[in-house]
Subunit: 326 residues, 2 copies
């Protein structure tokens, strides 16, 4: 049999659709007897209200779209899990899209999510020039990404994180420090890490050496870049990587070059997910407060959905995970 509908319940209980709807939503005056009859009929038919019909009427879906590069990356996987938990507690379901750093895919997702009438969006993906984000007045919150003046950004204190990382390297005596970075044309708060690097190097009269790593390059391609770094910079004695994946790859490549970490090369990563701290506790890294960021993202989105004013930028503090690599 097809799924029973409200009408079937009404027929079985011998009441009108209105009454069943009232019981369902606990609205208006109802005699106990009627209520009971209706409940019994619902049970008997295994009745399940159809949310799609409700959504059409109420014009809200209680769904939030998440657009992230990929949950396969521990940072985003953990962020997604935290967001999902907090949205669940706020009564929202989560429609997820992994953009894989592909602008086309991101655009398609955005369209699908809009078509699906999501009540809000949390974006952690990193593509440029997706005009559609501006064409909508859907509540949106960005994570670690500046989208436009109207979309609030949740970020960790990237400048301070960069300073902390550099302090570690400089204290341990590194002088020829390389920084790996994402594309600089992205308006990302993560650029503050680079600024901190540059400022600290300048303050110590040291020349900066920055390599850009494309977001969509494979691990193999990244390794090739890192081999290049080691070849081109014989005196390199420190690396401030913009994330823990890059840091790990660099450590692997360093081994190929017979460079010991930390003896010959100090390495500091970035992100400090639980996963990396579990699997690679020796990696010194800057911990982003994922849970707090998720909490702020969700509460900010809820504020937006309720039409409240929200700050444009929310910055949360980072901490250091002291391993042995720096």
């Amino acid at each position: 049999m097809q799924n029973p509908k409200l009408e079937d319940v009404a027929a079985l209980a011998g009441v009108s659709k209105t009454t069943v709807s009232r019981v369902l939503n606990n609205r208006g005056y109802l005699s106990e007897k009627t209520k009971q009859k209706v409940f019994d009929s619902m049970k008997a038919l295994h009745y399940q209200p159809n949310d799609v019909a409700r959504q059409l009427f109420s014009k809200e879906t209680k769904m939030v779209g998440l657009i992230f590069p990929t949950t396969a990356n521990p940072f985003f996987g953990q962020m997604a899990a935290q967001l999902e938990m907090k949205l669940f507690n706020a009564g929202y379901k989560v429609l997820i899209g992994n953009s894989m750093n592909d602008p086309l895919k991101e655009k398609e997702y955005l369209q699908k999510l809009l078509a699906n009438q999501v009540d809000g969006l949390i974006v952690g993906a990193h593509n440029q020039n997706i005009a559609e984000y501006n064409n909508t007045n859907l509540p949106i919150v960005a994570i670690d990404r500046v989208m436009n003046d109207d979309i609030p950004v949740i970020a960790s204190d990237n400048y301070d994180g960069g300073k902390k990382a550099m302090t570690l390297l400089l204290k341990r005596g590194a002088r020829h420090i390389v920084h790996t970075d994402g594309p600089t044309d992205l308006q990302s708060p993560a650029l503050d890490r680079r600024r901190a690097y540059e400022d600290m190097m300048a303050a110590n009269d040291l020349p900066t050496i920055v390599y850009t790593v494309a977001l969509d390059s494979s691990d193999a391609q990244k390794k090739e870049t890192f081999r290049q770094i080691l070849k081109e910079n014989k005196k390199i004695d420190g690396v401030f990587a913009s994330n823990d994946v890059d840091a790990s790859l660099i450590i692997q490549v360093a081994a190929e070059f017979q460079k010991q970490v930390p003896e010959d090369l100090l390495v500091v990563g970035y992100d400090g997910t639980e996963t990396v701290r579990l699997f690679k506790p020796e990696l010194t890294t800057i911990i982003q407060p994922i849970e707090e960021m998720a909490a702020m993202a969700v509460s900010t989105l809820m504020d937006r959905i309720e039409g409240k004013k929200t700050p444009h930028k929310i910055i949360l503090p980072v901490t250091v995970h002291q391993g042995t690599t720096a």
Copy 2:
């Protein structure tokens, strides 16, 4: 302004709703001129069809629900990412729910997803006795979990994986081998790993030592269990852990006991995600073919949705990642 609807487009273009709908779905005969008029009006109004209304009519949402323990775990994070990609390519959106190994939450999710009229479900969560799974004739596919006779299971070859792990340990001379396992009351194909362990130990006339690790215990709690293991089994020289997280924790605990890996203790893990191979390449582990499993799960689900018959059990081969821990 509110989102424009089909009617607004029709009015602006000076045609009927039907015509606009036809243009939208490219159905029936339409003059080029009319089409153009309609397209222009859609552009002018930034028209976006409302999928909720379409879903109500078509009775399909093109959404698939995913119920997993948590995407924060690399195995599930990668599995979710792969499933999402493949479902996207098949034209489906993904509603995700992290059960956090909480039966109540899993039940709530299931209800929400059913209410939301998802077209299918892929379940990787591990709770027992959720009757609702049987009460529905929604197409469902399970990953690494036996749910009932009617729900197809996608799993990797756990028995062979267990054998491979044990072979590694035995070859390197381990004799007092402990196995850590999930709860045995779950009807999980992962139990085959344990069977393989028991069979191999028996074949070598060795006594089995199995510890059960609750799924919802924290890393700290797990570590406590592992300290116990080392205390209670002074002669232990090998561990076959049921997953890489446990393996990592055991290695950490072993260090507390001044046990060197692999000199004093051989360790083999399970799962072999890209993440663990990146962050902890030294860990010898059994690689589950996540991508292939995701592909089979999706194609099986599609078959189910189309009403085709599907095999009840699909088993995919595992491989060994040879590190230095065994």
